[in-house]
């Protein structure tokens, strides 16, 4: 087809949060942008919990709250440590989160991404749906100069290709720009959408209006594998899911669906879902390798953003905000080079990495660079031993049964000492503090 005879300023591969952020910012600044998405619509291939952190989107579309499909703003965070029959929790709820411009929202990605994509088109980008990018086109020097798709016969040319193809991004890997993702640096998460009348959601979680609650859970629910469970309240549904590192799953012979069923049937979770109707079952990979797993991010004619670059802060369960921020910063870099009529060489695009280094994205990932390894190497303790010990301690402490409190305290300490030894616990504490700093 001859319709794309003139090269675009930029081609964006993928229409998730990072690709939409990149395409939007570049189009808004007047660049000639083509975005290519393999799904029927933006969002149709995308899965997330999902929590939207307002700040990252606000920097791109300041008035998004007036138009974006948002579910509930989060006023309460519950962190649960679970064993087979119990959860011990830390909850934080504050009326301060009922503010004019709330900080976090639950969203449904299929709907949110579709909206974000409509903004990209409004900003002037050309968006092709139902089109899969099959490979990158390079010139003789190895510089990326365009893409091939499964629809157009001829390659489509551009000055730069922004790879926003997600965690399972084949294009960059097959073109040799980055290595195949390692099974120990990604988690497989499965999730279900459970529908309930909104009054039921509100009564069950002590909410009014558009207030929402999120629960993040860890413990024996992942049966010694590195992973977490979650439950988020939407307007009239609940997202419930669980995920573990892929290599742990592969060794365990436990299926993800089996784990999700057990989580849903946990006595602390089951009543929250009672009477609901499940309308979708989804699975997705999550980059969990952190700083050490970040691949090469730029080269001649190409730049990587979002999950394709492993931009997820696993400790804080942040991803879409890192995706949008990396998409925005990549776009700003491309815009500034285009304005200066500079070529998209590896050296010039490296400016993106410099700018990322000054942002919260790299600072946070660097801060936690030791955590993924630590949790993975000590998974038996962090996802088995400790959750059980904590539950037993809580139960000993709260059960009133005629035993004096000094004996109870001794029993609790003895249990910790015998199960994990003093040296073991001190070592874990030391390693955790060191990795956290």
């Amino acid at each position: 087809m001859g319709e794309f005879s003139k090269p675009f300023d930029a081609i964006v591969v993928g229409a998730g949060p990072s690709g939409n952020a990149a395409a939007y910012v570049m189009a808004k600044e007047g660049l000639n942008v083509l975005q290519i998405e393999r799904g029927e619509y933006a969002g149709s291939k995308n899965v997330q919990g999902a929590i939207l952190y307002a700040d990252a989107l606000e920097k791109i579309i300041p008035n998004f709250r007036e138009e974006a499909p948002l579910e509930r703003h989060v006023i309460e965070q519950r962190m649960w440590m679970m064993d087979e029959k119990s959860h011990s929790g830390m909850h934080y709820r504050s009326d301060d989160f009922n503010e004019e411009k709330p900080n976090r929202y639950t969203i449904l990605r299929a709907q949110f991404d579709k909206w974000f994509s409509s903004k990209v088109k409004e900003a002037g980008a050309l968006v092709l749906y139902e089109t899969t990018v099959t490979e990158l086109v390079k010139d003789l020097s190895g510089k990326v100069i365009g893409v091939r798709t499964d629809r157009q016969g001829a390659p489509i040319m551009a000055n730069v290709v922004v790879l926003a193809e997600g965690v399972n991004g084949l294009v960059g890997q097959r073109s040799g720009l980055r290595n195949e993702v390692s099974p120990d640096s990604v988690a497989l998460a499965v999730k279900e959408m459970h529908f309930l009348p909104r009054e039921t959601v509100e009564a069950r979680f002590n909410l009014s209006g558009n207030e929402g609650v999120v629960i993040e859970a860890m413990g024996t629910i992942t049966r010694g594998m590195t992973g977490t469970g979650f439950l988020y309240t939407n307007e009239e549904s609940i997202s419930v899911g669980i995920g573990c590192i892929v290599s742990d799953f592969a060794e365990s012979n436990i299926g993800p669906n089996e784990l999700l069923e057990a989580f849903k049937n946990h006595p602390s979770i089951k009543p929250l879902l009672a009477g609901s109707e499940c309308k979708e079952y989804a699975a997705h990979l999550i980059p969990e390798g952190g700083y050490k797993a970040i691949p090469q991010l730029t080269g001649a004619g190409w730049i990587v953003v979002g999950d394709a670059g492993q931009f997820v802060n696993a400790v804080h369960r942040e991803g879409s905000n890192l995706a949008m921020t990396t998409g925005r910063i990549a776009a700003e870099t491309v815009v500034s080079l285009t304005r200066k009529r500079e070529d998209m060489t590896a050296a010039n695009l490296a400016e993106y990495e410099k700018r990322l280094g000054q942002s919260f994205v790299m600072k946070d990932l660097k801060k936690y660079k030791g955590i993924p390894d630590l949790l993975h190497k000590n998974k038996g303790n962090f996802f088995g031993t400790y959750p059980k010990l904590i539950s037993q301690a809580m139960q000993t402490w709260f059960r009133v049964d005629g035993i004096d409190k000094i004996s109870k305290e001794k029993a609790i300490f003895r249990n910790f000492r015998e199960t994990r030894t003093v040296w073991g616990m001190m070592g874990d504490a030391f390693r955790l503090v060191r990795a956290w700093r």
Binding site: P183, N265, A283, L285
Partner: protein, 101 residues
Amino acid sequence: MSDVIAAPRAKVEEKLFQNRYLVDAGRPHIRVRPHTTPSASLLAMTTLCPAGCYTQNESGQVEVAADGCLECGTCRIVTRNTGEVEWNYPRGGFGVLYKFG
């Protein structure tokens, strides 16, 4: 808990009925390369695949039926060193179509 563990397979199939798919008939996007004995990684997919697409046949080979695939890519990554799985995205527009994501 044991009743939950006993019946995951049937439940996965029921769950997949909730989802929307546009199946590209006759053009599966995942293929298992011909083999006599599957590697441990490929065999693990019979449990690990969240959509239950992988099964072991009576003569011991692992087969894939990708119609219910959720396109997570786990099988591609798990078998990356053995090369037993040939994985491509479905053609544009085909495959799973998440309503909520």
